[in-house]
């Protein structure tokens, strides 16, 4: 192996916060080699992103570099970036030109007021010193290389005219504009749908190998690591706990944290054991008939009909008592809207939702009055996606969890407190946390609090809207196990909305796959995940990265192009 192009030695970063100093990165060392990919894996707060940013010297205040060396070896010159001023000429010459960076959120990293082309032109004129015409020619060539169709025309478009995947392609074109020696990709596909993710990873990997760049891939997803990385460094609490080749890390992990991380990833690769052999009662508890929601489309001011979007298009589903029904789909498939339509926080345009209440009567939810709806909301509860936004930061945990009981009335303060303590115990939290505020808790703990609130009124159905997607993988399986455990104890039925196939496979009995507002396929979870009938489902399943470097799934995946499908 030749000498590394970039070496990081003993890098340490401190964050001076109001209450304490956080040692975000502690003595981190790694090497990047030409043509190889090092994946820096870790859960949120492990310091992986800030490490990557330190390489470009773009750590924001209150972050501070307190030690270490960053050696960049290009053109036979060794340059240590660490002692240089963050905005010095030397560092600026390295940024973009020698080290390219791809961010997680392509919308936020591209300027909305300049065309894509002019942003890449600027890069080229600044670093490569090209004139206007040559820069544009190169830009078009680059956009072609990242497989943007009609590059000459697309260069004159604005960011908002691009889809998420296209934006990330443009971002990649920008990062590659000056032929960098090192490419840093900071969670490049986290904001993207799984099929788009597969395409982007494919593209990045191919370009990297073609150009012989060194790549540092920051990710939390072990599946992505297995698909693209050559070497892996596992980070936890600012330290690299284990470093090695991808095969060693996946098949012979040594550090207990690596083992745990892999175990929780692999656990989600099959159905949960508790679910085996357990099927709900055949009687449906919730029946959805031809539910639809159309946005826009009303007659315009002068009688012109406007463009209408069918967010949910003629969906019929049943949820049996005691069953876990998964709803899977990519962003924009209408799965979240479907959940909101069932609860009527969004009013359906047409269709019916029937709920069989405790007395066995059928209740037409779509026709309920305000007070009837309140009763329905006590039986059918929602768990939110974002554990930070869904808890009122100004109320204590006791107040948050007890709020539904206070509203329902008929409880003394003491009864409420006892019930809250019981609920907190149920979700695995110490009842003593009642006096604390949400900011004192981690994402996983907050999600537990959200679950406790959902359970406060003894519900029968829980709709979990991406309830685990904001959580780290190890926490994710804990929360799923918690939900399964609660289900056993309280006889609940779940509608589990998710974009994550593995979570649904682990948790659900039946799965409905949604695409562009329609349900394309409904079936048992293991069938959907192994032998789906619909072409779209097949493409979706095959795009999910496989956390095993010996069996890369993405290399032989099926692609789905809806425009080539015969319309039904």
């Amino acid at each position: 192996m030749d000498s590394p192009i970039l070496s990081v030695e003993d890098l340490s970063l401190d964050f001076h916060l109001r209450t304490h100093i956080l040692h975000a990165v502690r003595n981190v060392s790694f090497d990047l080699y030409r043509g190889r990919t090092l994946a820096l894996v870790g859960e949120s707060g492990s310091g992986k992103s800030v490490t990557a940013r330190a390489l470009l010297r773009i750590v924001d205040r209150p972050g501070q570099m307190v030690g270490g060396r960053i050696l960049l070896r290009t053109d036979h010159i060794e340059l240590d970036l660490a002692p240089l001023a963050a905005n010095s000429r030397e560092v600026r010459a390295v940024r973009g030109a020698r080290i390219g960076l791809i961010f997680q959120e392509p919308m936020a990293s591209l300027s909305p007021v300049h065309t894509i082309g002019s942003q890449i032109d600027e890069m080229l004129r600044l670093h490569a010193g090209l004139d206007k015409k040559a820069a544009r020619a190169r830009t078009i060539e680059l956009l072609g290389q990242v497989e943007i169709p009609n590059p000459a025309e697309m260069a004159d478009r604005y960011t908002f005219e691009f889809s998420g995947g296209m934006r990330q392609r443009a971002m990649i074109a920008m990062a590659l504009a000056c032929n960098p020696d090192v490419l840093i990709a900071d969670e490049p596909t986290t904001a993207l749908d799984v099929t788009t993710q597969a395409e982007i990873l494919d593209l990045i990997k191919r370009l990297q190998v073609e150009r012989g760049m060194a790549m540092l891939l920051i990710t939390h997803d072990m599946g992505v690591v297995a698909e693209v990385a050559d070497d892996v460094a596992v980070m936890r609490f600012g330290k690299i706990v284990e470093q090695g080749s991808v095969d060693d890390i996946f098949h012979a992990p040594r550090h207990p944290y690596t083992k745990r991380l892999l175990a929780s990833t692999l656990k989600l690769e099959q159905a949960a054991e508790v679910r085996a052999g357990q099927r709900g009662e055949p009687g449906p508890i919730l029946t959805i008939r031809n539910l639809a929601k159309t946005y826009g489309g009303a007659k315009g001011f002068l009688g012109t009909s406007k463009f209408a979007v069918k967010a949910v298009d003629d969906v019929s589903l049943t949820l049996n008592a005691g069953e876990n029904l998964g709803i899977v789909g990519e962003s924009g498939s209408g799965k979240t809207t479907l959940g909101r339509l069932i609860l009527r926080t969004v009013e359906p345009s047409s269709g019916q939702v029937l709920y069989k209440d405790r007395q066995g009567r059928d209740v037409d939810v779509t026709a309920l009055s305000k007070s009837g709806l309140r009763k329905f909301h006590a039986d059918v509860r929602l768990i939110f996606q974002d554990p930070f936004a869904s808890l009122n930061p100004r109320m204590t945990i006791g107040q948050i969890v007890g709020d539904p009981l206070v509203v329902a009335g008929g409880h003394t303060a003491r009864q409420i407190q006892e019930k809250v303590a019981e609920l907190l115990g149920l979700v695995g939290l110490d009842p003593a946390v009642m006096e604390r505020y949400p900011h004192a808790f981690s994402g996983g703990q907050r999600q537990r609090i959200g679950i406790a609130r959902a359970l406060a009124l003894d519900p029968r159905v829980v709709i979990a809207d991406e309830a685990t997607s904001a959580l780290d993988v190890s926490i994710r399986s804990q929360i799923l196990d918690l939900l399964l455990d609660i289900q056993q104890r309280l006889d609940l039925s779940f509608i589990f909305i998710s974009h994550d196939i593995s979570v649904v496979r682990y948790f659900c009995d039946r799965v409905a796959v949604m695409h562009r507002g329609k349900v394309v396929e409904v079936g048992p979870a293991d069938k959907i995940c192994t032998a789906p009938d619909a072409d779209y489902t097949r493409a979706l399943i095959s795009a999910v990265p496989n956390p095993d470097p010996r069996h890369k799934r993405m290399l032989h995946r099926t692609r789905f192009n809806p425009d080539l499908q015969p319309t039904a």
Binding site: F237, G238, F384, Y437, A440
Partner: protein, 388 residues
Amino acid sequence: MTMTPSLDDAVLEDGPAISGLKPGLAPTSDAAAGQWTLIARKFLAQKLAVFCGGVILALYLVAALAEFLAPGLPDTSRAQFTYAPPQSIGLFTPEGTFQPHIKGYKVEIDQEALRRTFVVDDSIVVPIGFFVEGPAYKFWGLFESNRHLMGPLDPTQPMYLLGADRLGRDLLSRLIYGTRISMSIGLIGVCLSLMLGVVLGSISGYFGGWIDTVVQRIIEVVSAMPTIPLWLGLAAAIPLTWSPVQVYFVITVIVSLLGWTGLAREVRGRFFALRNEDFVTAAKLDGSSERRVIFRHILPSLTSHILAVVTLAVPSMIIAETSLSFLGVGLKAPVVSWGVLLQDAQNIRSISTAPWLLIWPSLAVVIAVLSFNFFGDGLRDAADPYES
């Protein structure tokens, strides 16, 4: 690849590495700290805002204790001391003994211009002291006293630390009395604006739709009015027979009737943002009524912002009072306010002979307005302690 030898039996750390801000100092925790504790901590970290808060506090103390702090009464005039210049305080008499004192004046008459000029007469030493007896006053109109914080030991002697005006009245005393009126007109006006702004803003923001449209159009119409002519018009409608106190009250109402729009917009914007927050949806799904959602969940998230906006609205009220009085349509003598004091500095002649008449009242306005602005800015930055 480097590898730590003891990897197989490595112990898992159970949290991120942290240490205290200074060696030996344990990291503090704010797990059980509520909204206001967090806001206070964030606010106290801003030195300038805290300092300005102190200045504001001092100004209100001055306003509260005006009678005691002022060396004299605001209305006592002495014709022989017209436009007398400021005196300075000396600590040692010419004989070398320690005695805080001010120098007396000697009047010289310029025979050519027939103008009187004051020169400091070193031979007259007026001893001064603290907690002296002086002109009698009624503190807050409640009880009589004649103690003053500072004054000449002999009450008949003149003391003009900031100079005198056209009628030989003490500017310092007038400025101190003016503080009471000028600083309180801001508060009362803002309280009225606050009520209008919060009520209309919340209604507009929570319900949206046509209600929002109506309220927003009203706001636009009100804020499109040219303020000064409107004030002039409204002030002109006040009957001349009314007492200064009545006039004062009506002026605050006029100023606040036009000042609520900014606050209403701010509240509406916050409502719009909060209405779609997950925790508000959660509250609705918990069965909370609309009233409960507004008062239990949305408004508590707004109070700190409202407080900040209110603080930023006070200076505009002070400025409004000053401009109105300066133009002669707001408060009028015998009421003393900073604006009324500035009326005396309306012509070139008085500015050239007695520049202190312009400098000190303007300085008071500038200090008060700037303090409120910096204080309000700090408050606004601290208002949302949960951001990032």
